[in-house]
């Protein structure tokens, strides 16, 4: 006897198909992800364990590339410069971005225009930014030297001195990436409920107290995300600094990324360059892990 129920799949098969279905659907995406992301990463790690010379793969090198990199004084200097650069840039950009976000969040006259004006630098390609600031800083045709002269600072060529070039590179980064911090923090500010703030004001809290006791704790998760994103991005800064100074004068602006690039493409030490990149990747992962943990533990997330 054929019943209507017999024509339908058995419940166990249906359940198996139900469980397997989404996984099967994920296969194309997984293949694509593996092809464009996992494979290059795995290839890079393998390359960091091999020795290259004359463009040829000379065989397994064990940990030699890592040991050589860690004994390379120029690499360690580049790491130090990068750390200094990242801390300074992210700190200034966070403070400026937060300040600007607080201002624009107050719905001043022409808020839309302010917003567009502030985010404009972020939309310019980093290479173009590098060329632009090179023209500004150039000692022969730039406007930086005459402006500094008007302020009573004479004889400073921004790109001609080690400290001034470093500060010049930081200023460029601040100009270009403060808008990103501004944008993220403004979005964060706009999600904060107004009731607790209004209640605090009614209770007689000053503006500073409202900010530190209410706004900042509620903004904390967004602030952390913004700082982590910007830190990871700043660690990989390359284009604009390469165009502006090529890492000079001396090694004063030689960031990690510039040294790794030179090691791979100028000195043709591909294995050693990959070891540098893997070390940086490990550092970024640790940093991101710590930041995520801090966000999870933070009071703003309760």
């Amino acid at each position: 006897m054929v019943t209507a129920g017999a024509a339908r799949p058995r419940p166990r098969r249906r359940r198996a198909a139900f469980i397997a279905g989404p996984h099967v659907l994920l296969v194309p995406a997984a293949i694509a992800l593996a092809a464009v992301s996992v494979y290059p990463l795995a290839y890079g790690i393998v390359a960091s364990l091999r020795q290259y010379r004359y463009g040829l793969d000379m065989g397994f090198a064990g940990a030699d590339n890592y040991l050589n990199v860690l004994q390379d004084a120029t690499f360690l200097t580049a790491l130090g410069t990068t750390a200094k650069y990242v801390v300074l840039c992210v700190l200034i950009e966070t403070l400026l971005g937060l300040g600007l976000a607080l201002l624009v969040n107050r719905q001043l006259v022409g808020t839309g225009l302010w917003r567009i004006g502030i985010i404009l630098p972020m939309t310019v390609a980093p290479v173009v930014v590098g060329v632009m600031w090179r023209l500004i800083y150039a000692s022969d045709i730039g406007i930086a030297d005459p402006v500094l002269g008007l302020l009573g600072v004479h004889g400073v060529h921004v790109l001609g001195g080690e400290s001034s070039a470093f500060l010049g590179v930081v200023l460029l980064d601040v100009w270009e990436w403060t808008p990103l911090m501004f944008l993220i923090l403004l979005a964060g500010l706009q999600t904060i409920p107004q009731e607790p703030l209004e209640a605090a004001v009614m209770d007689g809290a000053s503006a500073l107290r409202v900010f530190f006791d209410h706004v900042l704790p509620m903004l904390r998760p967004v602030l952390f995300v913004a700082i982590v994103l910007r830190t990871i991005d700043a660690l990989g800064t390359f284009d604009q600094v390469y165009v502006l100074t090529r890492g000079g004068p001396g090694v004063s602006t030689q960031l990690f990324s510039i040294y790794a690039y030179n090691t791979a493409f100028l000195f043709t030490q591909e294995g050693r360059a990959m070891a540098m990149v893997v070390l940086l990747l490990a550092a970024v992962l640790v940093l991101a892990g710590i930041a995520i943990r801090l966000v999870r533990l933070g009071p703003g997330t309760r």
């Binding site: 296969v27 004359y54 004994q71 022969d140 004068p249 100028l266």
Partner: protein, 461 residues
């Protein structure tokens, strides 16, 4: 009713579009497409590149440079019309071309027959078999080609220090010079009685005639890396120093090297104060604007000095070999051609290079805008020289030139020395005294770093 039918129809279309099976099918087809696309792309590239395997076609790849314009616009076309062999000419920027050519040669892709290279690529490209031996292809070298230019194409090198692995190997010609680019002295004849022979002559003229910032006595490239090394090498060579000695020990940290750097620093009162950030464009501008008495630069500048659109002192700049102290020793940096290891048409490529480096063609090359030809007969031809006054200076400079170390690690040497030279210049510009101590300290630091790097690399000592 009609509406109902339409609704049922559209519902069935919708259900057909969104059924799991169809989504799965589309997904798998998409994934298959994604995974196959690169291979298809590679196959199409391969088939188009292998079409250059015809004996009637060669493909030349090069980096963009103004010095290559006559080669591209006049001589490639002339070769085509004279031989019937079609030439495809692909150019890109320097860095990209270095990578492209290296990858093409290493993997024998066969996309190119001829690579136009910078001479310092030759050690890596020859040792790594990116290019093939011209000797083995039966290449006939024109004996009229100046020896110092020709020697840039040998691996292992004919002269200078050799890496241990290649110490006993017979030098073979892997690349042939096509443009003798070399550093020469450019001086504004208004301020000199004839060509200055020594660095002292230039220093004296700078001291007595320059009036910075309206007129500088000297201009130089001071940016770290290759630019400042190019400034320093003619000084180092002329004071009797070496970049590296025969045993690979750095030869610039001794008294000769220190004296050469001190000489450069002695020009500081007569140089633009921002020289530590100067690259070619800024260095050259002060000369072309009539604000500088002299400088050393490669031959590419010859095409600008008489161009009224580019120069305010058109016709006033003369050229000579770089000044001597113990001797003249300009740096050489030729444009040089190799035949790709996977060249589809190596015989066609060989024919082109033999044709272009032949004496009659080189004479015509020199006649085209005074290009830096590679043969003695072209560079010293009196008729051509009367029109292009820099050609004898180029011949003189090539004959006295000192090659950079022949090793794939040369860019690293240059980076180390160039970084420390730049630091020394920054210090000297700010302190304006203690030049000898600054020079000695920074050159010793560079020498120690290069020695440490060579030991780490192995194959040198």
């Amino acid at each position: 009713m009609a509406h109902k039918e339409e609704d049922v129809k559209s519902e069935s279309i919708l259900s057909r579009q969104l059924s799991r099976r169809s989504v799965l099918k589309a997904g798998l087809a998409g994934a298959a497409g994604l995974s196959v696309a690169p291979f298809l792309d590679a196959c199409s590239t391969f088939s188009s590149s292998s079409s250059s395997g015809s004996t009637n076609k060669i493909v030349i790849g090069t980096f963009q440079d103004n010095a290559m314009v006559p080669f591209r616009d006049v001589f490639v076309k002339r070769f085509q019309s004279e031989t019937g062999i079609k030439v495809q000419y692909n150019e890109t920027n320097y860095d990209a071309w270095y990578q492209n050519s290296k990858n093409d040669g290493l993997h024998k892709t066969g996309a190119y027959d001829i690579y136009v290279m910078d001479d310092n690529w030759v050690p890596e490209f020859a040792a790594g078999k990116v290019i093939q031996s011209l000797d083995k292809l039966g290449f006939k070298v024109n004996p009229d080609i100046l020896a110092n230019g020709l020697n840039q194409g040998y691996w292992p090198p004919k002269t200078g220090a050799k890496m241990k692995a290649f110490a006993n190997a017979q030098p073979e010609l892997y690349a042939i010079v096509i443009i003798d680019d070399v550093e020469i002295l450019y001086y504004n004849k208004q301020y000199f009685d004839g060509a200055p022979k020594t660095w002292d002559d230039i220093a004296q003229a700078a001291q007595s005639k320059s009036k910075p910032p309206s007129l500088y006595g000297w201009s130089a490239r001071g940016v770290k890396g290759n630019p400042i090394v190019q400034t320093y090498l003619p000084l180092l060579n002329s004071y009797g120093g070496n970049f590296v000695n025969q045993d690979w020990s750095p030869g610039f940290a001794g008294p000769e090297g220190v004296a050469a750097l001190e000489r450069l620093f002695s020009f500081i009162p007569y140089m633009p104060s921002g020289s530590a950030e100067f690259d070619t464009d800024q260095e050259v501008q002060v000369l072309l604007q009539g604000q500088c008495m002299a400088l050393t630069e490669y031959t590419g500048l010859t095409h600008q000095v008489d161009d009224p659109a580019a120069s305010k002192v058109s016709g006033q700049i003369n050229m000579a070999a770089t000044p001597s102290q113990e001797k003249s020793g300009p740096a050489i940096g030729t444009f040089i051609c190799g035949i790709a290891s996977g060249a589809p048409n190596p015989q066609g490529a060989k024919k082109f290079l033999e044709w272009f480096t032949s004496s009659p063609v080189q004479i015509d090359f020199a006649k085209t805008n005074g290009s830096a030809a590679v043969t003695g007969s072209a560079l010293t031809d009196k008729t051509i020289s009367s029109q292009y006054r820099w050609l004898p200076a180029i011949a003189d400079a090539v004959n006295n030139s000192v090659a950079k170390p022949h090793t794939p690690d040369e860019p690293k040497f240059e980076d180390i020395l160039g970084t420390r030279l730049n630091e020394a210049l920054v210090q000297a510009l700010s302190k304006k005294s203690g030049y000898r101590s600054i020079a000695s300290q920074k050159l010793t630091q560079a020498a120690n770093e290069i020695t440490a790097y060579l030991k780490q690399q192995g194959g040198y000592f």
